[in-house]
């Protein structure tokens, strides 16, 4: 028998699908990641390429780039984060609704990259929690897609998806049928 999160046998259950809440919630979330392009430098060019028809990020359900943090659930930090911009990055992250994920795209966002200087934050993980780091300067669009698929995998494995902590409080979502 195939190991699956979903149990469905039309002869036995008719129109009923048996599953776990986590599995179905994560399935929905992982296939409709709405990214917010936090394009700060050259990496953003590759991010744009990933949205074009050649690389076509929409194959993975992520083409809905939202420029408002309130409508996005994955911030792709693509570029050099200066100290002056770091404040803005954190504020935008705070404005995103839970659940939310962060992808650090490229050397600069991951570690400060080659900008070892007075003006550059040495890695965006100093101010926001990062889920996926993508290496490269810049990473090719394929690398971004690979990173985003890893993020999907990570989302699918999250437990307690109906329970989230936000600012130290635990928020429980109840399913009523």
């Amino acid at each position: 028998m195939v190991k699956s999160d979903f149990g469905y046998n039309s002869k036995v259950e008719g129109e009923v699908i048996v599953t776990r809440a986590d599995a179905v919630v994560n399935w929905v979330r992982s296939n409709s990641v709405w990214p917010m392009p936090m394009g700060l430098a050259c990496c953003a060019i590759e991010l744009m390429a990933a949205g074009g028809s050649r690389f076509d990020i929409s194959r993975f359900g992520m083409e809905v780039m939202r420029f408002s943090p309130r409508q996005a659930d994955c911030m792709i930090v693509a570029g050099t984060v200066t100290y002056k911009m770091a404040e803005v990055v954190r504020r935008i992250y705070d404005q995103m609704a839970e659940p939310k994920w962060v992808v650090a795209m490229g050397a600069c966002a991951s570690t400060g990259g080659m900008y070892r200087s007075y003006a550059t934050l040495q890695g965006v993980d100093n101010i926001v929690p990062v889920d996926i780091y993508i290496s490269g300067c810049p990473p090719r669009p394929e690398a971004l897609l690979d990173g985003m698929m890893l993020l999907q995998e990570k989302i699918r494995q999250e437990g307690g998806s109906l329970r989230r902590t936000f600012r130290g409080r635990t928020i429980e979502t109840k399913i009523v049928s």
Partner: protein
């Protein structure tokens, strides 16, 4: 343009015999009048560039260099101005394009442009206490509080000197150059803190 036109009108002007374009050292007090004279009477109607300058170990530490272009005569002229202390007159009343250039020169070198309509920093954040392109400023930076206090409180982040070890600006063969003291300050690393 005839070099004598400027030097006879402004006797304090020195002809620096530029090899690529006419170059003059203009006294700070004459700057506005000279730029207006060049604009109105010699057609130098475009300010192509304005940059700050720090000359270490010379009597005058700061200066400004202006490149003016005549769009009718297709020629350039270059003006050097020595700052008086750290002050230079602003030419943004004559060439509005100077506005941001002067803000950048102020931000990076701390050159104060007298009469500038909006003398704020342009690249670093407003409360930043240093002028990072000065030669006595280490490339790695100096620890200061994070620009936004509320973000600093949540993240515990400060503006810290960047780690230089293994980075692209570290010289492995000793000193980079005597003329670039910020690059000399590479003696410390993550493992060997700054003395």
């Amino acid at each position: 343009m005839d070099a004598a036109a400027l030097t006879s009108r402004f006797p304090a002007t020195q002809d620096l015999a530029g090899k690529d374009m006419p170059t003059f050292r203009v006294a700070a007090g004459d700057l506005l009048a000279a730029v207006r004279f060049l604009r109105d009477e010699h057609g130098f109607d475009l300010l192509a560039d304005l940059c700050g300058l720090e000359l270490q170990g010379r009597p005058v530490r700061f200066g400004v260099v202006l490149h003016l272009l005549s769009t009718t005569h297709k020629e350039y002229v270059r003006l050097h101005v020595d700052a008086v202390g750290d002050r230079v007159p602003s030419v943004s009343s004559l060439h509005p394009g100077a506005n941001w250039h002067e803000r950048e020169a102020y931000d990076m070198f701390g050159i104060v442009f007298e009469g500038h309509p909006d003398p704020r920093r342009i690249l670093m954040w407003d409360s930043y206490p240093y002028h990072p392109l000065r030669k006595d400023f280490p490339l790695a930076g100096i620890e200061v509080p994070f620009p936004a206090a509320d973000v600093a409180e949540v993240t515990g982040q400060k503006v810290e000197p960047a780690p230089m070890m293994g980075g692209p600006f570290v010289s492995h063969g000793g000193k980079l150059s005597e003329g670039e003291p910020s690059a000399l300050d590479q003696s410390w690393t993550e493992e060997k803190p700054k003395a």
